[in-house]
């Protein structure tokens, strides 16, 4: 479904990613880990279409992936993923509205009633129906991310991109969110890319783990070489020893 061919990304002289090759099939759940600044978020942005590769190709179904966000790719950011000026219910209804062509994206009459009903069902499913009339700032961080995920799935994306979605949440709430994501991934048959700081999260969730790290280092010119995928593991049955090795390797890497 997704194919990456010798992908490079650099900003001026600073090389962020180099020589990335990979294939991803429909339905895989890939977690991307690595030290901060290693380019995993940049890779996600290229999948999203807000960044473009400097060299090489990023293909989706054999075609270059579109260089602007569209309905093929849903996204949940760490924050600011929901519309703060709409209630929870309106956030979901608005997502329905954006699917329509037209100038305003507002829904009227029958369409609005249908969207409303659909939204209520969805909110029930993600456990937000009691908060339907609240504004996002009145929700807890976990609830907000629940809403963001529900909203992202409404567009029926083929790929769901998660950019450190649980980075700001408490560990207990994280557990709940993991359940939610795994559940949705199974029932909606999505392809998921998730960037995370937390290696264990990467091991626990998903079917495949990518570790981003620099393959070569030049201490005189730290920006001369970019990161590649140093580990590409299936993680259905996590091996604790492997986790330890990777953790140590990551700690050992000196770049920011």
């Amino acid at each position: 479904m997704i194919e990456v061919r010798n992908l490079w990304k650099n900003y001026g002289d600073k090389v962020v990613l180099e020589g990335i090759n990979a294939r991803v099939e429909e339905g895989e759940f890939i977690t991307l880990v690595g030290a901060s600044g290693c380019g995993k978020s940049t890779f996600l942005k290229m999948l999203l279409g807000t960044e473009t590769p400097s060299r090489g190709q990023l293909l989706m179904d054999g075609q270059a992936i579109k260089a602007e966000p569209d309905r093929d790719r849903g996204i949940v950011f760490q924050q600011y993923s929901v519309f703060p000026h709409m209630t929870v219910l309106d956030n979901v209804i608005a997502a329905e509205g954006f699917k329509q062509p037209g100038f305003t994206g507002l829904l009227w009459g029958k369409k609005r009633r249908e969207a409303r009903k659909k939204a209520q069902v969805l909110l029930e499913k993600v456990g937000l129906s009691a908060s339907a009339q609240l504004y996002p700032h009145q929700l807890s961080g976990g609830m907000r991310q629940r809403l963001a995920i529900a909203q992202a799935l409404l567009g029926k994306p083929r790929i769901l991109l998660l950019d450190e979605p649980f980075g700001a949440l408490d560990p207990g709430i994280r557990k709940d969110m993991h359940e939610l994501v795994l559940d949705l991934w199974r029932t909606e048959k999505l392809t998921v890319f998730m960037v995370t700081h937390d290696l264990e999260e990467g091991f626990y969730l998903g079917t495949r783990l990518w570790v981003f790290d620099k393959l070569r280092q030049d201490p005189q010119a730290p920006d001369a070489y970019g990161a590649g995928i140093t580990y590409d593991l299936p993680v259905g049955q996590p091996d604790p020893k492997e986790l330890e090795t990777i953790e140590e390797n990551l700690k050992g890497s000196t770049h920011d």
């Binding site: 993923s81 929901v82 703060p84």
Partner: protein
């Protein structure tokens, strides 16, 4: 005894403290006015409150002998009309320009520099031009207010548009939103309370331009009246008028704050993560 840094007034104390400066100013005025009037009963500089009351009685509640109008209210009405019309025009254009230059990089690239240059033109220097182009009627005065504050509102709106997290725009696009839908559903509603804030900040400037325009060419209006009666040193009219203008400015500001709080309960919560 706590450090001064940490001492908080109680509720009653706060009221007392905040009214104290007003009382002191009032007292100083009363004493100064009394002293001057005692020395010279026909002194015009610091009229007593009775004299001011009489002047207002004459202006507001008795028809003018020549025109039969209640001047105070005629002045208030026409001044407010000019101000609000000018501000309304400025707010509409400012919002439109700010939204488009902020949201669409192509529009921003073409208009941001010219907007910056225009905003540096002192509007009062344009007043003669406006009088020449629009004549001495209402249009020139409204135009001065509109031209005076549009650049400020437009630039503020542009900045506020750019402040809205990109994540929201990207999210809307991944849900299928097109350009106009994102502008109308995501940006515009979030700009509205910010527009009211910008209008609040520009009202002071609006009054300035209003009074300046009225002082130069007008037949009624609060600013016109003040400059007219200055010829007779009628401080008994000028001071109440100034107080009235201050009160109107306060009222407008308070109204805008209340509207913002009522209509946009989500505003001011840091974009709501």
């Amino acid at each position: 005894m706590k450090r001064l840094l940490n001492q908080q007034p109680s509720t009653a104390g706060r009221m007392l403290l905040s009214s104290l400066p007003f009382l002191v100013l009032l007292l100083i005025y009363l004493v100064a006015s009394d002293l001057r009037l005692e020395a010279n009963p026909s002194d015009k500089l610091l009229p007593s409150f009775t004299q001011m009351g009489e002047a207002i009685q004459r202006m507001a509640f008795e028809p003018n002998r020549r025109t039969g109008e209640y001047l105070f209210w005629v002045d208030t009405f026409s001044s407010l009309q000019r101000l609000l019309l000018g501000v309304l025009i400025a707010a509409s254009f400012g919002l439109l320009i700010g939204l488009l230059t902020g949201a669409l990089p192509l529009v921003g690239a073409s208009f941001s520099p010219v907007l910056t240059v225009i905003s540096l033109i002192p509007p009062l220097a344009l007043l003669p031009v406006l009088f020449i182009v629009f004549g001495l009627g209402e249009v020139a005065k409204v135009a001065l207010i509109a031209i005076g504050i549009t650049p400020f509102i437009a630039r503020d709106m542009q900045k506020r548009t750019l402040e809205i997290p990109r994540e929201q725009l990207i999210k809307a696009q991944t849900l299928g939103g097109n350009t106009s839908q994102v502008l109308i559903r995501v940006l515009l509603p979030q700009l509205t309370p910010r527009l009211l804030d910008a209008v609040r900040l520009s009202l002071g400037t609006g009054w300035l331009f209003l009074i300046a325009a009225e002082a130069i060419a007008s037949t009624e209006g609060l600013g016109y009246r003040i400059f007219l009666v200055r010829r007779y040193m009628s401080m008994d009219v000028i001071l109440p008028y100034v107080a009235w203008i201050t009160f109107l400015a306060f009222l407008l500001d308070w109204l805008l704050v209340s509207v913002n709080r009522k209509l946009f309960p989500w505003h001011g919560h840091g974009g709501g993560a």
